[in-house]
């Protein structure tokens, strides 16, 4: 067992390689650049390839090309770059291209706060690219989770043939703490389902195997047509409304039907809690501290931590809402998830938000003061 003291961004790079990532294309942007820096040193050692592209549009395009050629691929960026990547996130959803996009969130909109923390891209991760679609987004709260969850991100991406967004923030990115590299036998690595039919029988979007069609690598002898246009099982464009409906429903269902396997949450002192905090990423750490302070004063506070941001943990939140008087949503934005949480809670209990978009982390006292302010504790 190897132990290291490293930053979240470095852990992402090492975790990605452990997951089998062999290709990285990116463009330097604060506060994500360390992911690129570390992976540019590490990939050549395993025969992988690092390319610095001319912008973020090109970065995700190259990642898509590499992934279709058979390599697990990723990029890393921050808000402004994430905005530029939206077009290709849509393409990767439509073309069912496995890939991982790390977004180290910083203050926005636009150039915003390059060196300060934010969780302001939560809704952009969900709906940034146009059209109906599902998305998987994962948020780590520690350096350890940067390592282990980036492996999960690759696994989900490979299994479901879909882009996965690794939605971290500047605090976790630059936080240095202990990382225990897990033993090999404790790591599960999933690889995409490859085609085993003869090339002449291959259909790139053949759904007879289930909702996730097997993938043939470019250049491996299979004829493969891929496009961002609506297509049928052959991959060729169609505007037939029945085929369009089939495709759009399948792209949705392959994620939604597996929602219980994808969605992960964590809890802290939630069993007997009367008030629950919902938080994710770095803010979940503040929430834990707030809970310990509140418990000292006899206030029964607990935490439901979202690990998977999308698909949303609506069932888990609904179950919890039955047992608490109030929910406090804490996030480094101006309450982006509030309506989503409220939709899950369905009026069972009150939902309050404590949010900041000033580049600073939500502190334990921000959370405790909010409880007083809304009169749920005195």
């Amino acid at each position: 067992m190897k132990e290291l003291v490293i930053s979240g961004n470095e852990a992402i790079a090492y975790g990605a390689i452990r997951a089998g990532c062999c290709f990285f294309a990116g463009y330097p942007i604060t506060p994500s650049s360390e992911v690129a820096e570390v992976i540019s040193l590490e990939l050549p050692k395993i025969g992988g390839r690092f390319i610095q592209m001319e912008d973020e549009i090109a970065s995700l395009a190259a990642v898509i090309g590499a992934s279709l050629t058979g390599e697990k691929s990723m990029t890393a960026t921050s808000g402004p770059g994430f905005s530029l990547m939206q077009e290709h996130i849509g393409f990767a959803i439509m073309g069912e291209v496995p890939c991982v996009i790390v977004n180290v969130q910083r203050g926005g909109p636009s150039t915003g706060l390059p060196t300060h923390a934010s969780q302001g891209d939560v809704m952009q991760a969900r709906w940034g690219t146009h059209g109906d679609h599902e998305i998987i987004a994962i948020s780590p709260s520690s350096v350890q989770e940067c390592y282990t969850f980036i492996i999960d991100a690759f696994n989900l991406s490979e299994e479901f043939r879909t882009p996965v967004i690794f939605l971290t923030d500047e605090v976790i990115a630059h936080l240095r703490e202990k990382l225990v590299i897990p033993e090999d036998n404790s790591i599960n690595v999933i690889n995409r389902l490859k085609s085993n039919v003869p090339p002449e029988e291959y259909k790139p979007f053949d759904t007879s195997y289930g909702k996730i069609p097997p993938l043939a690598d470019f250049g491996s002898g299979y004829r493969f047509h891929i496009t961002g246009l609506t297509h049928d099982e052959t991959g060729f464009p169609t505007d037939d409304s029945k085929k369009t409906e089939l495709l759009l429903n399948r792209l949705r269902d392959k994620i939604i039907d597996n929602r219980d396997r994808i969605v992960k949450t964590d809890s802290f002192m939630l069993e007997d809690a009367e008030i629950a905090i919902i938080a994710y990423g770095s803010v979940a750490r503040s929430a834990k501290e707030a809970i310990l302070i509140a418990r000292d004063k006899g206030i029964k506070l607990g935490l439901l931590r979202l690990i998977t941001i999308w698909p949303f943990a609506d069932k888990e939140i609904a179950d919890m809402a039955k047992n608490v008087k109030a929910i406090v949503l804490a996030e480094m934005n101006l309450g982006q998830l509030k309506s989503t949480v409220e939709a899950a809670v369905k009026g069972t209990c009150d939902v309050f938000t404590v949010g900041r978009a000033d580049g600073e982390i939500v502190t334990p006292s921000n959370i405790l003061n909010k409880l007083k302010e809304v009169g749920i504790v005195h």
């Binding site: 330097p28 650049s33 690129a36 610095q52 001319e54 150039t111």
Partner: protein
Amino acid sequence: MASLKQLSAEKDLFASGHRACAGCAASIILRQVALVAGKNTVFVGATGCMEVVSTIFPYTSWKVPFLHNAFENSAATGSGIEATYRSLKKRGKITKKINVISFGGDGGTYDIGFQSLSGAMERRHDMLYLCYNNEAYMNTGIQRSSATPFGAHTTTSPAGTVIPGKQQFPKDLTEAIAAHDIPYVAQAAPHNWADFTKKVEKALTIEGPAFINILSPCPLGWVYPPHLSIKISKLAAETCFWPIYEVENGIHKINFKPKEKKPLLEWIKSQGRFRHLLSEKNKHIVEEAQKEVNRKWDRLLKMAEAKI
């Protein structure tokens, strides 16, 4: 053209007190451009060193309107400004000439902003695009760009046991923009202020798009003592690493021809980013780089001579 004495009497429109590194050539460049352009000017700056250092809250160096848009689109934003001024003029709402100057570093110009620059030049907006070329992404931590010279060390073209710095020759952006057949394209360097300010003046006087690519020595990224920026700029011209020339209506004209071309090794020796090239085993890289400088210089000489 204004003399140095005249220019020095003008009020600076790019004020001191900005946060550029000691010895930064780009801040000198912008100051000179602003002096020549005068107060009827709007500047559009791409994300980059000069945007960051000139506009730190609650201060600004700009005594003229300054618009910072995202990284890739200072030329496109300038296009909108210029087109609107033209429309306002047509409708008689304004009468005076307003200069539109979009600028970016080599990252915002050679790479991510290339598309918007090409579009603005092709649509023939009456504007100047200025690239302060410090040959890498200095603002985000010295990553290579397509302007980074062959053999230079950057954090993403690190010189070590595997590779001796950047493996590719830089993109010839000046010629690429000249291929847009716009009225005025020039290369300049900050040591030759008279040449540079004359070029800015010319660019702002002619009707239609103009592009100036100016070399901008960077003590931090190029690794040399800050007081040497101007000397290093001069060396770039004397070795013909960075030819000082212009392309006016398609005709190449060389503005500075060294009496005796200095060997490129002198340029290489002057900067830490090339330190690894001084070893015996990397001698061939220097030779290759010299060969490329010779090829490009000879080509330029021929074009100037043939008046093409």
